[in-house]
């Protein structure tokens, strides 16, 4: 069967578009999916609502080896209503979990600051589990100029 030039070009353009789109989709989807799985394990299957959690991270991190990150959750931190834990996840790191902060009413405030390693530009996620079982999250994108996973 002889293809006209027009048909041959259309075929190859379609093939290239398909190849490019699948290349772009797979790595990002895999990272976010792994992070999401870990997140859902932490929440016991509950989908987090937005609100209450405030994640602060730089828009651009010059050094991926040490990126300052703060999280603060709106809560009265009384014996009857407090934040139990907050997990930080990095969607694009080889392993998504970074740290889990565990609070008690004696914390006074559900707030913590630390420094993390980010392998590349990605989303950082903070998920909070409250004493009443409710779950909240916040997400921030951090651009990383020099990746911080060593080697």
């Amino acid at each position: 069967m002889d293809l006209t030039r027009r048909q041959a070009l259309a075929l190859s353009a379609g093939a290239v578009a398909f190849a490019v789109s699948s290349l772009q989709l797979r790595p990002a989807a895999a990272d976010a999916a792994a992070a999401n799985k870990t997140l859902m394990e932490f929440t016991g299957g509950k989908t987090p609502q937005s609100g209450k959690v405030k994640l602060s991270a730089p828009q651009i991190a010059e050094n991926g080896n040490t990126v300052p990150v703060s999280v603060s959750v709106d809560s009265e931190m009384s014996a009857s209503s407090y934040v139990q834990s907050v997990m930080l996840l990095a969607e694009g790191n080889p392993n998504p979990t970074v740290v889990t902060f565990n609070f008690t009413p004696m914390s006074g405030a559900a707030s913590a600051t630390t420094r993390m390693r980010l392998a590349k530009t990605q989303n950082v996620i903070a998920v909070a589990k409250m004493s009443d079982g409710s779950v909240y999250m916040d997400k921030k994108e951090v651009k990383v100029t020099i990746g911080g996973c060593g080697g």
Binding site: V99, F101, T104, S107, M116, G150
Partner: protein
């Protein structure tokens, strides 16, 4: 066995019911387990995996730590103090070592 030195900043005094800020740092390489040496052999993971803060024996705050926390792990957090007493901080190393530090506070 590494010797890791902790540094902690706790205010010397506080008012009863005040929520104070505590800053902690410990020297530690936090080897992720993802790096390879010059011969291409993976360098095994070796990190501080847990940090806890207690006040007069009661838990205040703790962190379950993964390799993505930077070297010389830094944690800043809060504590509500209602009486004078002593904070006890502990850091647990993958190799089983436990580093501790205590600091007192006078609450008026």
């Amino acid at each position: 066995m590494a010797t890791a030195k902790p540094r902690v900043k706790v205010p010397a005094t506080a008012a009863a019911g005040e929520v104070i800020t505590i800053k902690t740092l410990i020297n530690h390489k936090m080897e992720t387990g993802l790096r390879k040496d010059k011969k291409g052999k993976p360098i095994p993971r070796s990190i501080i995996n847990k940090f806890t803060c207690e006040f007069n024996g009661k838990p205040v705050f703790s962190s379950d730590i993964d390799p993505a926390i930077s070297a010389n792990p830094y944690f800043e957090f809060n504590a509500k103090v209602t009486e004078s007493g002593t904070f006890k901080f502990t850091w647990v190393d993958d190799d089983g070592s436990v580093y501790t530090h205590e600091q007192s506070i006078t609450v008026k």
